[in-house]
Structures are given as structure tokens and as C-alpha cells.
């Protein structure tokens, strides 16, 4: 009985001790946290004040014959005290100071425009914050990544273009969206050249994000898209073909013809043929007609569909054999292409309805009904 009492007492004392210890630990942890927050706030206030001055202090006018670098020298002089302060700190302390300073600069960049932002961007580069900001694109939280992408755009950090292009593949929609906007704001329509050169195996997401920018700039993007047709990555070439067709730039027919004839991949050749059809330019007719007899069924079908969009009367003699001997898909596409040639084509379809096989009749009737 006495032993049991001693055990219970010991356990109670031990538990009380543990609880007391944990409580003290928690209190200390909270106090340390609060101190850390206060310290960070103090630093933020300190650098906000310093940078408000750096951004707004009046600088002496630069002589008209001075070099462009003269203005940067003036900015650099403003930064000297801050750089000295950072250099004098021990490494751990300096890291915290730099983090707070970067935060202040990014916050200013979000809310300011005009001359102040130019000075701010110089400071951001001069203090070598670009790499640190780029690193944030790999952060585990998507909102940090999205914010980092946006800020890189605001701070016009062209060095971040590659990292931002990689962010177009981010699993989160907001990050991709911010990255795309940042890239476009960094380099405007010219950004497309960099993006296309850097991209490998373009995903559906990237294609979607990029297509928004391409459509925003319209025909201005054509030179970059035409350049993109010669890039080694097949997915990029496919994207460029698709976008040229979407924009409807008729002069793109010549590079598309070249691709359709010579590109090693059937997928790309088929896409080029499809794009030629969508562009509807008469110059592609002869090539499309030659593809009707291609040994590859995918190319034949795409050529028939393209001719159906263009409506080429000259192609009628070449289309008839496909209606008579092709696969069902080819027959339907050929019938549509024949119908698109005009009254002569429609007469041919009626003739086949009267004298063709059962399948030919069904196909032609279906297309005639389609045309109303």
C-alpha cells in the first residue's frame, strides 16, 4: 500500500515537473518568437525609412554631355551607407538584414511607379538580390512562388527570364499565370523569342499560357513564330504552327509549305498541312493536291481536310479518286472538299449519289445534307 502511494506520488511529481518544463519551454519559445518578430519589424521600419530617402532624395542635375553611367553612379552613392552597414554585420545577422531589405524593396516595387521605380530597380540589382528572388520560384508554397514570379516582373529582372520560363511548367495555375505576365512585362513581344528558344517539350499548360500572350500581341508575334519553326524542339514547332494558323498570317504559308514537305516528323507535317488549310491561301493548293496521293494516310487525310476549307476547283480531278477508293474518313473529307469547290463539285456529288456504291452514296448524301 505504501509502495503504491510512493509510486503514485513519484509519477505525479514527475508529470508536474514535465508539464512545468514544457510550459516554461513554450513561454520561452513564445517570447523568443515575439522578440524575433519585433526585431524584424524594427529592421523593416529601419530600411523603409532609409529607402524612402534613397528613392526620393533629390539628386544634382547631370550635365547634358555626361555618360549614361553618371546617373548610376549617383544611385550607387546613395547605396554606399547601406552597403557599408551590411558588410559590417556578421554573416547570420547580415542574412536577416538582407532578407528584410529585399522585402522592403519588393514592397516598394509593388506600390510605386515613375522615376522612383527606376532607382529602385537599380538598387535591387546593385544589392545583388536578383538571385535570391529567383530562388523563391522554387519555394514549397505556391503563393510564395506566384508572388516571386510577379515581383520579378515588377522589378524588371531580365536575368530571371529562364527561371520564369521554367515556372510556366509550375503545377499551380496562379504561378504559371504570374510567370507568363512577368515574362511579357519583362521583354514584351520579344520575350516570345527567349521563351521559345528555352522551352523543351512544351506542356499543354505552357502552350495555353503562351497562346494568351501571342493573341494579345497578334501579328507582332509572327516573326518570332516563324523563327520558332526552325527550332529543334518539335513541341515548339507545333506550337508555332498552331499560333500562325490562329493569327491567320497568310505570308506564313511559305515556311509552312517547307515544313510540310521536308520535316522529319509526320505529326509536324500533318500540323503544317492543317495550318495551310486554316490560312486558306491559294498558294498551298498545288502542294495539298500532291499530298492527296501521299502514301501516309495521316497526311492524305489532313490534305483533304485542308482542301475542304480552301475550296479549290482545280483540285477536283484529284479529289474524285479519294472519294471512290479512300478509307471512310478520307471519303467523307474528300466529299466535303469536292462540295467546297462550288457548283461543279456539287454536281459531281449528285452524280456519285446516282451511280456510286452504297458507301459512296451514303457519304455524298451526308455531305449534301450538311451543305443544306
Amino acid at each position: 500500500m505504501q509502495t503504491q502511494l510512493i509510486i503514485i506520488l513519484s509519477v505525479t511529481v514527475a508529470l508536474t515537473f514535465v508539464v512545468a518544463l514544457v510550459s516554461i519551454g513554450l513561454v520561452i519559445h513564445k517570447a523568443v518568437n515575439a522578440q524575433e518578430i519585433r526585431r524584424r519589424q524594427r529592421l523593416y521600419t529601419h530600411y523603409s525609412e532609409k529607402f524612402a530617402e534613397v528613392l526620393l532624395v533629390d539628386l544634382p542635375p547631370i550635365p547634358s554631355n555626361a555618360r549614361t553611367s553618371a546617373i548610376f553612379k549617383q544611385y550607387e552613392n546613395l547605396l554606399v551607407p547601406i552597403k557599408k552597414e551590411l558588410e559590417s554585420l556578421p554573416p547570420v545577422e547580415a542574412r536577416l538584414h538582407r532578407e528584410m531589405l529585399r522585402g522592403v524593396l519588393v514592397d516598394f516595387a509593388r506600390d510605386l511607379s515613375g522615376d522612383a521605380i527606376d532607382r529602385l530597380i537599380y538598387c535591387f540589382y546593385s544589392l545583388d538580390f536578383v538571385s535570391e528572388q529567383i530562388e523563391l520560384l522554387k519555394h514549397k508554397h505556391w503563393w510564395v512562388r506566384a508572388q516571386a514570379a510577379r515581383d520579378l516582373g515588377l522589378l524588371r529582372t531580365r536575368r530571371a527570364l529562364a527561371a520564369l520560363t521554367a515556372a510556366l511548367e509550375d503545377p499551380h495555375q496562379d504561378v504559371r499565370d504570374q510567370a507568363r505576365q512577368a515574362i511579357v512585362s519583362l521583354a514584351g513581344v520579344e520575350s516570345l523569342r527567349t521563351i521559345l528558344r528555352l522551352t523543351r517539350r512544351m506542356s499543354m499548360w505552357t502552350a495555353l499560357e503562351l497562346s494568351i500572350s501571342v493573341q494579345q500581341y497578334g501579328e507582332e508575334t509572327v516573326p518570332y513564330l516563324v523563327e520558332g519553326l526552325d527550332l529543334p524542339d518539335q513541341s515548339v514547332v507545333l506550337f508555332c504552327i498552331e499560333m500562325l494558323a490562329v493569327i491567320g498570317f497568310v505570308s506564313a504559308v511559305d515556311p509552312l509549305r517547307r515544313l510540310a514537305k521536308t520535316y522529319p516528323s509526320i505529326t509536324v507535317r500533318a500540323k503544317a498541312i492543317e495550318a495551310m488549310g486554316r490560312l486558306g491561301d491559294q498558294r498551298s493548293e498545288d502542294l495539298l493536291v500532291s499530298f492527296i496521293r501521299d502514301p501516309n494516310p495521316a497526311l492524305r487525310l489532313k490534305a483533304l481536310e485542308a482542301l475542304g476549307r480552301i475550296g479549290a476547283p482545280a483540285a477536283l480531278p484529284a479529289l474524285m479518286p479519294r472519294l471512290e477508293h479512300g478509307t471512310l474518313q478520307e471519303q467523307i473529307a474528300a466529299a466535303r472538299a469536292i462540295a467546297a469547290t462550288g457548283p461543279a463539285g456539287m454536281d459531281e456529288l449528285h452524280r456519285v449519289v446516282a451511280a456510286g456504291t452504297k458507301r459512296q452514296r451514303a457519304v455524298c448524301l451526308h455531305v449534301i445534307e450538311e451543305r443544306g
Binding site: 523593416y44 521600419t45 523603409s48 525609412e49 529607402f51 524612402a52 530617402e53 528613392l55 526620393l56 533629390d58 522592403v104 514592397d107 516598394f108 509593388r110 506600390d111 510605386l112 511607379s113 515613375g114 522615376d115 522612383a116 521605380i117
Partner: protein
């Protein structure tokens, strides 16, 4: 006239202490015309506005939320109040409504600071009686110009 009739009062007015009081009061009234109250919860922007407007010759009183803004406005009766729309405790609109409801602060011009692309905020603010607005991101020079314009319109400095 009173001074002529009452030599004692005349003597009192001429005492150095009384003259000192008059000068202090006059200076205070001059300074009061220059006070700009700015309410902004974001510290960096608050510091920037403070620095810019102080450099332009104004006396800037900066507060970080709507409640403080209202208190200071009633206490100081500044020449102009700059209100950020999104603030903790009391939004810029709530402060604006309270200012316009108060007889003493009704005539003080208010400049709203809003986020870009929030047209409805701007319209709401102007309908509620704000004098002007500025959208973020803003240029500090533009901010100073707008402040000057509003004060000139209201007959201030």
C-alpha cells in the same frame, strides 16, 4: 478701440509675454494650414508619403489605421487627409463617412489611395465626398502634385 478706451488692456497687449503668445498663435495657425494627415497601414508607403510630403514643406502626421486617423483628424483639423481604402479596424470609406458626418471635419478635403483597377472604389469614394484619388502603384511626384492641387482648390497652401 478697446485698447483706446482701456489703457490697462493696451498695456497688457504690449507686454512682451502677450506679444509672444500672439506670435505663437499666429505661427500655429500657419502651421495648421500645412498639416497633412495620412492614414496608411503599409509601413513602407507610410514612410515614403511622410518623406515626400515633408520634403514638399508640409507637416505630415502619419497613422496606421482608420481609428487613429479619425481621432487625429478631430484633434488636429488638418488641411488635407489622405486615406488608404483598405485599412484595419476602419476602412477608408468608413473614416470618410465619419469625417463627412462631423461638422468640424466635413470641410477637410480627403484624398483616397486605392488599389489599381478598382474603379468601383474610386466612384464610391468620390460619391461619398472625397476630393480626389490616387491609385497604386503611384509616382511620388504625382502624389505631391495631387496634394498641391487639392490644397490649392480648397484655398490652402
Amino acid at each position: 478701440m478697446i485698447a483706446k478706451k482701456c489703457p490697462k488692456i493696451n498695456a497688457l497687449i504690449l507686454t512682451p509675454f502677450f506679444r509672444f503668445l500672439i506670435v505663437v498663435q499666429w505661427r500655429r495657425s500657419q502651421t495648421m494650414n500645412n498639416i497633412i494627415l495620412t492614414a496608411e497601414d503599409q509601413q513602407h508607403i507610410r514612410k515614403l508619403i511622410e518623406y515626400k510630403l515633408t520634403n514638399c514643406g508640409y507637416v505630415v502626421v502619419a497613422v496606421e489605421d482608420g481609428v487613429q486617423a479619425l481621432e487625429k483628424a478631430r484633434e488636429l483639423l488638418p488641411a488635407l487627409i489622405m486615406l488608404d481604402v483598405m485599412m484595419p479596424q476602419m476602412t477608408g470609406f468608413e473614416v470618410l463617412a465619419a469625417l463627412k458626418a462631423d461638422e468640424r471635419t466635413r470641410s477637410i478635403p480627403v484624398l483616397l489611395v486605392t488599389a489599381q483597377s478598382k474603379e468601383e472604389e474610386v466612384l464610391k469614394g468620390l460619391e461619398m465626398g472625397a476630393e480626389d484619388y490616387i491609385t497604386k502603384p503611384f509616382s511620388p511626384n504625382e502624389l505631391a502634385a495631387r496634394v498641391r492641387k487639392v490644397l490649392l482648390r480648397k484655398g490652402g497652401t
